[in-house]
Symmetry: C2
DNA sequence: TCCTTAGTTCAAAGATTATTGAACAATTGA
DNA sequence: TCAATTGTTCAATAATCTTTGAACTAAGGA
């Protein structure tokens, strides 16, 4: 874990909300949550349908910096996980209601394959 | 109610999240939610501590356009209410978890006086 | 009628954010 | 070693969002 992540108590509510207010990032989080109950681990290229490699790198950094996801470097790949427990601890119920809302709303879905740790 | 409001099913999750991702708007919503269980009704000038009249007009329009608040014109005043039921229906649990999170986080508070309908 | 109150609209400026392509670094496999 | 894969960084552009002041509307009170 070489990349910088905020600690749980550094996670800011306005920042989380504004970061998840972007449809691309919301789709990424919805996909992570859907796969294996959010315990899925997947590399960035899984999300290429949502944008260019460069642009994804930007959005994934935003998610990481806001404390929504955790990024682990393994070889040349980065594995992504949702920081579900940290978010639940800091803002109980928030992630669940957002993910549930994204399912209801027309947030684009990706195919459900994933790589498990 | 001359001002345009989205219907309940037009309320967009990414838009709600990005609108509430702004600290000023989050403070407004937290204040509305705190007063009389969110049934409080208050005019715009209640929020002048958060910004200039012009700037508030801008932020309050954002909240209204996203479907987070309802604005009723009464004389020269605009009375604001949270669209709690509409939001709960569309995105169950979302508003509660955001408001609870705002209480935990350092979202600035206003004095608790209000005008009830 | 005149003045005050409450809030909006407009245009301009400033500040962020999102998107892109080119160049780069690091790992992996042939 | 060479080439392909995976993803980042940088600089530039485009697009949005925020903030401000001046001018405005509409209602109420003296």
């Amino acid at each position: 874990m070489t990349l910088p992540h905020p600690t749980t108590d550094q996670i800011s509510l306005p920042l989380v909300l504004s970061v998840l207010g972007d449809p691309t990032r919301l789709a990424i989080v919805a996909h992570l949550a859907r796969c294996e109950g959010g315990k899925g681990r997947m590399n960035c290229s899984r999300f290429l349908a949502l944008g260019s490699k460069t642009n994804l790198s930007y959005h994934l950094a935003k998610l990481r910096e806001a404390g929504v996801t955790r990024t682990e470097a393994v070889g040349t790949q980065r594995f992504l996980t949702l920081r579900r427990e940290d978010l639940d601890q800091r803002f109980p119920g928030l992630l669940d209601s957002i993910v549930a809302g994204a399912e209801l709303a027309g947030i684009p879905k990706l195919e459900d394959t994933l790589e498990v740790a």
